[in-house]
């Protein structure tokens, strides 16, 4: 990676209300983006290390059932989605995205202190709730800061950088936790202490080094955007015009995104390789995701974010087919993970970039949050509906049905987004002068 972390504070300091820096090097991203990536990485190490050992801790150590835990998880996901909109909206209204994000990170860090001292199930659920709520609060404002710190033409790359760092944390966290347990078999307390340490370091870096930037519309010349540059927050930017098309396309595609859980289950049910590695399949997906995040983000900047977002769904289409078709076992598993990782790299940060590109500086947080929420809710519905299909027609057949629907839906979504399918430079003239990226970091791994 090309960005120098050390030159960041000097650069970020000047109360950059006009955050988007125009740096000469076309291939660089703002140091603020890298800093936020590091913050996300540390926070992900913190949360994923705990998440990875939680099933063992609850059943093996506390001697409790995981049943209740699993049931509650869906509920928290819903809370997170709703809080996310509120977080985005609040940061837009008060104009302090950094501090709204800080609140979210700090909440998660404080929750971990509780984890050190409480061992009951109620305490555990409280900690997990606080973690999810914190994640919901911080995601959209953080993405608004990324947007404000990026140039319109490298928004996808910025998101890619952030996503890559974020996913490094997601991959390192579980390994760190299991390494601690390898050294100290009952060292759950040590894992919680490490989790708290990384959360505190992450939130401190955010507080000290990330400027409270908020993109302001630059010159009037820039503001010739057709989608009405307004000085104030306007829901219309989010709910009409090009954003409405994006939300509709994301929703339609989201309805056919059944979740990697089912893909893993299909693989696991059929071959011993996947069964043996089942608890780790998501780590494979994460690694592919982090490897491809920057290249695909850059590609999105070059050929158009809407295009990469829509056609990125070919990745999950391929994963369905690989899970359903009779291919050699280990090969099918590896292929699936590669395709899933590519799918997330092509859609996760890229959708955030697309939403940022289409909203005004005053509505970035809300617009990004809206896109993420649509994706989260439609995928939730999809998973529920797919469960029915799975048992009615069977594992492979249901995969093939969804794959067939996706083959129809991808061109349809492309048609819907046709006005946006061109390269971003053209879009910029049509819509807004800068791009915003939001990390949908929660989606692929939790």
């Amino acid at each position: 990676m090309y960005i120098s972390f050390s030159n960041k504070p000097a650069q970020a300091e000047p109360s950059s209300r006009d955050g988007a820096k125009r740096q000469p090097g076309r291939r660089t991203v703002s140091s603020t983006v890298v800093t936020l990536g590091v913050v996300s990485m540390l926070t992900d190490i913190s949360s994923e290390s705990v998440a990875a050992i939680l099933p063992l801790y609850v059943t093996g150590f506390l001697g409790m059932s995981t049943i209740a835990f699993g049931v509650l998880d869906g509920f928290y996901q819903g809370v997170s989605a709703l809080v996310r909109i509120a977080g985005g909206y609040t940061s837009d209204r008060i104009g302090r995205p950094k501090w709204v994000a800080f609140t979210g990170y700090a909440l998660a860090a404080v929750a971990r202190i509780g984890l050190l001292f409480a061992t009951g199930f109620a305490a555990l659920t409280a900690v997990i709730s606080a973690d999810r709520i914190g994640k919901g609060i911080r995601t959209a404002p953080r993405d608004a800061v990324i947007t404000a710190s990026s140039r319109p033409d490298n928004l996808g790359t910025s998101f890619g950088v952030h996503r890559m760092l974020d996913n490094i944390g997601a991959a390192v966290g579980p390994l760190l936790a299991f390494f601690i347990l390898l050294l100290i078999p009952d060292g759950y307390g040590t894992v919680f202490a490490a989790s708290l340490a990384f959360a505190v370091i992450g939130v401190t870096i955010l507080g000290l080094f990330v400027p409270n930037v908020r993109a302001r519309r630059r010159e009037a010349a820039d503001a010739r955007a057709t989608n009405a540059p307004r000085p104030k927050f306007d829901w219309g930017v989010v709910t009409s015009g090009p954003m409405r098309r994006v939300l509709a396309a994301a929703g339609i595609l989201g309805l056919l995104t059944i979740g990697d859980g089912f893909v893993y289950l299909a693989l696991q049910a059929r071959n011993d390789f996947a069964a043996q590695w089942f608890p780790l399949l998501y780590v494979g997906t994460n690694i592919v995701f982090l490897a491809l995040a920057i290249p695909l983000g850059r590609l999105a900047d070059r050929v158009g974010r809407a295009r990469v977002f829509v056609y990125g769904h070919a990745g999950i289409l391929g994963a369905y087919l690989a899970a359903a078709l009779p291919i050699a076992d280990a090969a099918a598993t590896v292929l699936c993970l590669v395709l899933l990782g590519a799918f997330y790299a092509a859609t996760d940060g890229v959708l955030a970039a697309l939403a940022a590109q289409l909203t005004t500086p005053e509505t970035h947080g809300t617009g990004i949050a809206a896109a993420q929420t649509v994706v989260a809710l439609s995928r939730f519905l999809s998973a529920a509906g797919f469960g029915i299909l799975w048992f009615v027609v069977g594992r492979e057949a249901s995969m093939l049905i969804v794959a067939g629907a996706l083959i129809v839906a991808i061109p349809f979504a492309a048609l819907l987004l046709r006005p946006l399918l061109s390269a971003p430079r053209a879009e910029a003239t049509a819509d807004s002068e800068h791009t915003d990226v939001e990390p949908i970091d929660a989606e692929p791994r939790k």
Binding site: T59, G63, G74, A122, V200, G261, R379, A383
Partner: protein, 343 residues
Amino acid sequence: MTARLKWWLISLVSVVALGATVGVGVSAWAQHQQRQSMPSSAQTAAPADATVGAQILFRNTASGEGYGHVASVPVTQPDGARAVLDLVCDRVAATADAISCLRSERGITPSYAARIYDAAGESQRLEWPLPGVPSRTRFSPDGSLVATTSFVTGHAYASIGFSTETVIHRVADGESLGSLEDWSLIVDGEPSAPIDRNYWGVTFIDDTSFYATVGMTTAGQTYLVKGDIATRTMTSVLEGVECPSLSPDGSQIAFKRVTGGSGPTVHWTPAVYDIASGTVTVLDAETRNIDDQIAWLDDATLLYGVANDTPGDSDVWALDAGGLGEPRMLIPHAWSPAVVNER
């Protein structure tokens, strides 16, 4: 605040946070080493000294040497010295000549496995991976079949919710009869295939049939089902039953029933179903929350594990199956009891 000051601050915070973590880790490691090398807090005996006759096998949770190992005590002297095997398991079942051992494999990456050993726990006969944290295991009375239930734990956890996998294997050759979720299910006379069904807690009648729990996560219903291996079909028998356990004489089924709360506050109470009369007796002499697959000590006494105040430790308690009398602690520092009549 100057950039220099900020760097000092973050360096300080990092050093303190990571230093404290290392301190916690070193202290936890030292304590663990100390516990490991300490003699067991329970009275132990060498396996060779184990008396012949009926025994209770269990997972030894007494701190010190042998923690987590399979151990046994004579049925006639459950508080006597425990014979500790050189075999570590999270969940145990046993017959006169085999041990089923489910465990989390330690390693830099988590994995879970079911293993079948000889009665001494010395030579491994079979092994297959499990998709998550071990939950239950049982042998058929003749020892020819073994059932395992594990959670499905991985990333899929969040997106698909609570999930278990229950599989029956033949002990002779390790042949899998497939996940019960692929078998036919008949609820109240109608074929049923709810999306969120899960099976757990098999108890065998003989080598052709068994009982188990089917749960519908969303509706929160659970049923006792009777399974037929030849037709790969399970038929509902009774609602509100989890983790059935057939008595040695085959006349009664002990199970856990939800008697209060839901989600994280769920409260299970042991209960007994009399197959001939169809009556259910909830054993509310036991007021604690019991989350275990009950074992039968004899035709009138139930055994189950209950976590105690020390994390990672539990005790095995006995309760009269007729609901008479209070529960009594039978084996301290033990988990996952399995009664073996002749060894």
